[in-house]
Structure formats: structure tokens, C-alpha cells
């Protein structure tokens, strides 16, 4: 029993509690503790990834009760990857939040931040559906706090909507779990997988309902059309570092879909007869289109970034909806890219907003008081990434997805959607960028308005942003080895027997 598997959940929780306990009033101390904790999380998750890379599936039986009766944490290639991605994103975002002084614009930023990390990591690691619900709630309620961090009329009202919408989602989650338990009598995913496979056909209806409702719950998280409506206002009004961190939250939905609908209700499960994919694919295509069209239609940078987040989720879900190993490799690669790219864009947009006090985040020409050139370069690069233009990972990811779509019978639709929307995105970003940066280039620099909070260092914020973009370059450079790992990951996902065996301690021969 390897205790390290628990660390990504326990460590942030303890850090958060310690911050509340001992550092409630000193931001500096909070920052130190928070950074140290996150760094430790990074180290641990790297080590966990190396552990998982061996192909072994590690199971941690919390409370020493065997599955399916107790709750288990499961570390496989996928969960290790997601945890690592979370940790790396977290440290960059944290640095940005500190550098930009966002964390000091309200109370309890760091505590909530750490609790959010706990929820996210828990959601990635747990092998129990109800426990998944609990972690969803943990990360959600932390996200509520972070979303309204700093206050403000619009932000608070958007916050109400965000909370209300997600409460509906949580309610739906419980309905789904009730239905599933009522027929299968279990909550453990591996156990559920077995039982679903043996489910007598004449009991299928309720199970199917449960499975589909669950899909919708995850779809809300993943901002899948038509359940994405919470996203634009939320993301565009959320504090930038939080929005950047939310880049991983939409991925949780994607992860959960990938996990549950390969392991439990797999693509060739007789009682589901491919319903999941059939529901998912068209919705994903629409999501992609709405997102990219939104980029072109946006008049505010915040919404531009929000819609590009939707668009990239659409692309990702298209790849997932194919439910083939090849497509899943592409999906996972794109997921890594999309997380980094979305986060980077939100941070850049924040820089553009902070340094153009005149514009208030609108897409209009307005002079920069600082970092005009650098911000322009950063925006250019991150737009390229999100529009999926070369040479960054976005392009590679799209190529992989399109390449994997060959065997799908919707291949022409998928290709057309991806290519046309890429063009729309390119045009949209070009319009936004050229009118923000080029038109305003001539205007004279203005006075630097002193920001309400002291204790901020621009350079740290910039460094953090550049780091995330740099990470994308690395992801592009190392596409080969990464694809190798992802290939093995997809292998694990589409051969669930190993997972089930490990969790239920079946001696598989």
C-alpha cells in the first residue's frame, strides 16, 4: 500500500488548513506556505507519474476496507498524468496570482486555492463514483469562492449564476448515482464495470438512465453544448489566475467522461449500445463551432478567451467521442495542450487588461502603459496555440485528432468542422490582436496608474505566463515521447480488465 497515492489529496488539504490556522492575517506567510505546498505537490506528482509509467495500477484502500466496500484511490497512467498536469499548472498560476497581486485582493485566496487542488486531485484519483461526487463538490465550492474573489457587482452576479447552475449539476449527479445504485447495488467503478457488463437486459433501462444522466453531469463540467451556458460569463468575469486554473476544471469533465465511459460503460457495452458516443459527437461538433464563432464575435478580451476555452473543449470532446484508442491518444495530447493554452491565454488577457487601463478589457485600441511589445508577442503566440496554428502543440494535436478521425464515419464532418473553425479562430484572433495592438501602437504612453494593491511584482507575473507558453513549446518538442506514454495510457483505458483486477484484487491469470 503506497501512501504517496494519497498525498495529492491530503497534502493540499493540510496546507489549506494550516494556512487558515496560522497564517490567516499575513498574506506573505500564506504565499510562502502555498508555494512550498504546491512545489511539493509537483514533486510528488512527478514521482507518481514515473510510478504509473511502469504500467502497474496502484490501488490505495482508504480505511483499509477492500473495494467495493470501502473507498479506493487508483493510480494509473491517466490519473497520474492528470495530477501532474494539475500540479504544474497550479504552480504557474500561483506565481502569477502572487506576482499580479490578485491573491491579495480578497480573503482566503490561498486556502481556497489549495482546497481546489485537493478536490481536483481527488477527482482524478478516486475509484468510487460517490467519492467522485464528494470531490466534485469540494472543488466546486472552492471554485465558487475563487470565482468571486475580489468581489465586484458583475462578478458577484455572475457568481450567483455559476453557483446556481452547478447546484443543478450536483443535484443531477445525485439522481444519477441513485439510479445506478438502485439497480447495480454498488458504487465502486471497477465493481460497477463488472456488474454493468453482467446486467440482465430487462433491467437495463434504469441503468441506462443513470449512465446518461452521469454523462450530462460531466458534460456540464466540460462545457459541452448545450450545457455550457455557465461558462462565458463565469470565465470572463473570474479573476484571471482563477480562470487560468479553471482550464483544468473543464478537463475534469473530459477526464470523467473518458474514465467512466471506457471503464464502466465502455463503448461496446451491450446495454448502452453506443448511445454515449452518439450523444457526444454532435454536441462536441456544435461546441467547437460555437466556441470558435464566439472568438470572432467577441468584443471583450475576457469573452474571447472564454469562447476559445469552449472551442478547445469542443475539439477535445470530438476526439473523446470517437472512443477509439487512436482518438484517445490524440484527445489526451490535445487535453494537455488545451489546458496550457487556455490558461496562458487567460493570463495574457489579464496582462492586456491590467496594462491598458483605458480599455477595461474591451477589444478597442487603447494605449499600453507598460509591456506593450511583450504582451503583443505573448498574445500572438497564445492565439496561435489556441487557434491550432503551427508550430505549437495545438496544431500537432489537431493533426493527431484529424488523423485519428479517419476511421470514424463522421470523418468529413469532423475534418470540415475542425478546419473551418480554425480559420474562423485565426480571423477572430487576427482582428482582435491587430485592433488592440496595432491601432494603439501610435498613441503615446500614458501615466502608470498605481494599482489598488501594493506587494505585486510584474516580472513574476510575466515569468509565470511565459513559463506556461514555454511548457507548450516543450510539449510540442517532446510530442514523440509524450505520444508514446499516451499510447500506453489509451492501451490501459481500452483494456479495463487490468484496472478491475487490480481494484477488486482478482487474481487475473
Amino acid at each position: 500500500m503506497n501512501h504517496w497515492i494519497l498525498a495529492p489529496v491530503l497534502l493540499p488539504a493540510m496546507i489549506a488548513a494550516l494556512i487558515v490556522m496560522f497564517a490567516r492575517h499575513e498574506v506573505e506567510r500564506q504565499r510562502v506556505i502555498s508555494i512550498l505546498g504546491t512545489l511539493a505537490l509537483c514533486a510528488i506528482s512527478v514521482w507518481l507519474l514515473m510510478l504509473a509509467a511502469s504500467g502497474a495500477i496502484e490501488v490505495y484502500e482508504v480505511g483499509n476496507w477492500p473495494a467495493p466496500f470501502g473507498i479506493v484511490l487508483v493510480l494509473d497512467r491517466l490519473s497520474a498524468l492528470m495530477v501532474l498536469l494539475t500540479a504544474l499548472l497550479a504552480i504557474a498560476v500561483l506565481l502569477y496570482a502572487i506576482g499580479s497581486g490578485w491573491d491579495a485582493r480578497g480573503k482566503h485566496f490561498h486556502a481556497l486555492f489549495q482546497f481546489l487542488l485537493m478536490g481536483v486531485c481527488g477527482a482524478f484519483l478516486t475509484g468510487d463514483v460517490f467519492n467522485l461526487f464528494v470531490f466534485f463538490e469540494v472543488l466546486l465550492i472552492a471554485s465558487y469562492g475563487l470565482m468571486i474573489h475580489g468581489g465586484g457587482k458583475q462578478r458577484l452576479r455572475a457568481g450567483v449564476q455559476y453557483v446556481a447552475y452547478n447546484l443543478l449539476g450536483s443535484t443531477l449527479f445525485l439522481f444519477a448515482l441513485g439510479a445506478i445504485y438502485a439497480v447495480s447495488g454498488t458504487l465502486n467503478m471497477a465493481d460497477l464495470a463488472q456488474r454493468a457488463a453482467e446486467m440482465p437486459a430487462d433491467e437495463a433501462a434504469i441503468l441506462r438512465v443513470g449512465a446518461v444522466l452521469l454523462l450530462l453531469v460531466f458534460a456540464v463540467k466540460a462545457a459541452l453544448l448545450p450545457l455550457h451556458f455557465w461558462l462565458p460569463a463565469t470565465y470572463s468575469l473570474t479573476p484571471a489566475p482563477v480562470a487560468a486554473l479553471f482550464a483544468i476544471m473543464t478537463k475534469i469533465g473530459a477526464y470523467a467522461i473518458l474514465r467512466v465511459y471506457t471503464l464502466v460503460f465502455g463503448p461496446d457495452l451491450s446495454v448502452m449500445d453506443g448511445l454515449v458516443g452518439d450523444l457526444l459527437m454532435p454536441a462536441a461538433l456544435l461546441t467547437l463551432i460555437i466556441g470558435m464563432v464566439g472568438i470572432l464575435g467577441s468584443t471583450e478580451l475576457g469573452r474571447l478567451a472564454a469562447f476559445s476555452a469552449i472551442g478547445s473543449m469542443g475539439t477535445l470532446l470530438i476526439a473523446i467521442a470517437m472512443f477509439t484508442p487512436e482518438a484517445t491518444v490524440a484527445a489526451l495530447y490535445y487535453m494537455v495542450h488545451s489546458t496550457l493554452a487556455t490558461a496562458a491565454l487567460f493570463l495574457v488577457v489579464d496582462l492586456m487588461t491590467e496594462h491598458r487601463p483605458g480599455a477595461k478589457g474591451k477589444i478597442i485600441p487603447s494605449p499600453f502603459h507598460r509591456y506593450g511589445g511583450l504582451t503583443a508577442a505573448l498574445f500572438f503566440v497564445s492565439s496561435i496555440a489556441l487557434a491550432g496554428m503551427p508550430p505549437l502543440s495545438g496544431f500537432v494535436g489537431k493533426l493527431m485528432i484529424m488523423d485519428a478521425a479517419r476511421d470514424s464515419d463522421l470523418v468529413w464532418w469532423i475534418w470540415a468542422a475542425i478546419l473551418i473553425t480554425s480559420l474562423i479562430a485565426v480571423v477572430g484572433f487576427a482582428r482582435a490582436g491587430s485592433s488592440v495592438f496595432w491601432k494603439s501602437a501610435q498613441e503615446a504612453a500614458v501615466e502608470v496608474p498605481a494599482h489598488d494593491d501594493a506587494r505585486q511584482s510584474e516580472s513574476l507575473a510575466l515569468t509565470a505566463t511565459i513559463d506556461i507558453i514555454g511548457a507548450q513549446v516543450v510539449v510540442t518538442e517532446l510530442a514523440g515521447p509524450i505520444a508514446g506514454y499516451l499510447n500506453a495510457t489509451a492501451g490501459q483505458l481500452y483494456a479495463p480488465a487490468q484496472y478491475i483486477g487490480a481494484v477488486l484484487r482478482l487474481e487475473q491469470g
Partner: protein
């Protein structure tokens, strides 16, 4: 009995949905609470119904109701309590700072904090 419980859940859900579709934060919150009642009972019912069989081990009991859903519902109640506390508070401060308790924010869209 089953019919009563089923219909009760149905009624709660229907009312909840209707109220969630209102325009102001307060009825929406009430609606969500009704939905929460509904779903809690739903989850509880997933263990089937039993009368006078509390899952407390005794020598004499001739059976027990399913304890697991009860534990789940308990967790769910607590969590939804925390959630509703947050949304109530949020709705309150939103009203205090925006001077309206409309939940739709179409009109002022785009204006900054």
C-alpha cells in the same frame, strides 16, 4: 407506500424545477432547496423502503433497511447545506452591491465591475 414516496418526490421535483425557472434569486434558491429534498429522498429510496427496520444492530431485529444510501444521503444533506449557505450569502451580497436581485444579467452585460 411506494406510490406516496414516488409521487412526493415527483411533486417536489416539479415544484423545484418551476421555481428554479423564475427571474429572482430568492425563488431560485427555494427551488433548488426543493430539488435537494427531492433528490435526497430519491437517493434514500434507492435502498428501497422499509418500516421499523433502522440499521442499528440489535439482537432482536428481524432485518435492517439498507444503511448505505442513508449514509450517502447524510453526506449529501451536509454538502447541500454548505452549498445553499453559500448561494444564499452570495445572492445577498450580489443584491446589496448590484441593487437588484434579478438572476438574469442580460441588461448590464459587458459593463465592468
Amino acid at each position: 407506500m411506494e406510490l406516496l414516496v414516488a409521487s412526493a418526490i415527483g411533486v417536489l421535483t416539479a415544484a423545484g424545477i418551476y421555481l428554479v425557472l423564475r427571474q429572482r434569486t430568492f425563488p431560485v434558491i427555494i427551488g433548488i432547496s426543493l430539488l435537494t429534498y427531492g433528490v435526497n429522498v430519491f437517493l434514500f429510496a434507492s435502498g428501497r423502503l422499509a418500516v421499523n427496520l433502522p440499521p442499528v444492530l440489535t439482537k432482536t431485529a428481524e432485518g435492517y433497511s439498507d444503511p448505505l444510501p442513508q449514509a450517502l444521503v447524510l453526506t449529501a444533506i451536509v454538502i447541500s447545506f454548505g452549498m445553499s449557505a453559500v448561494i444564499v450569502m452570495l445572492a445577498l451580497v450580489a443584491y446589496l452591491s448590484a441593487d437588484t436581485d434579478r438572476i438574469d444579467m442580460g441588461a448590464e452585460k459587458g459593463e465592468e465591475n
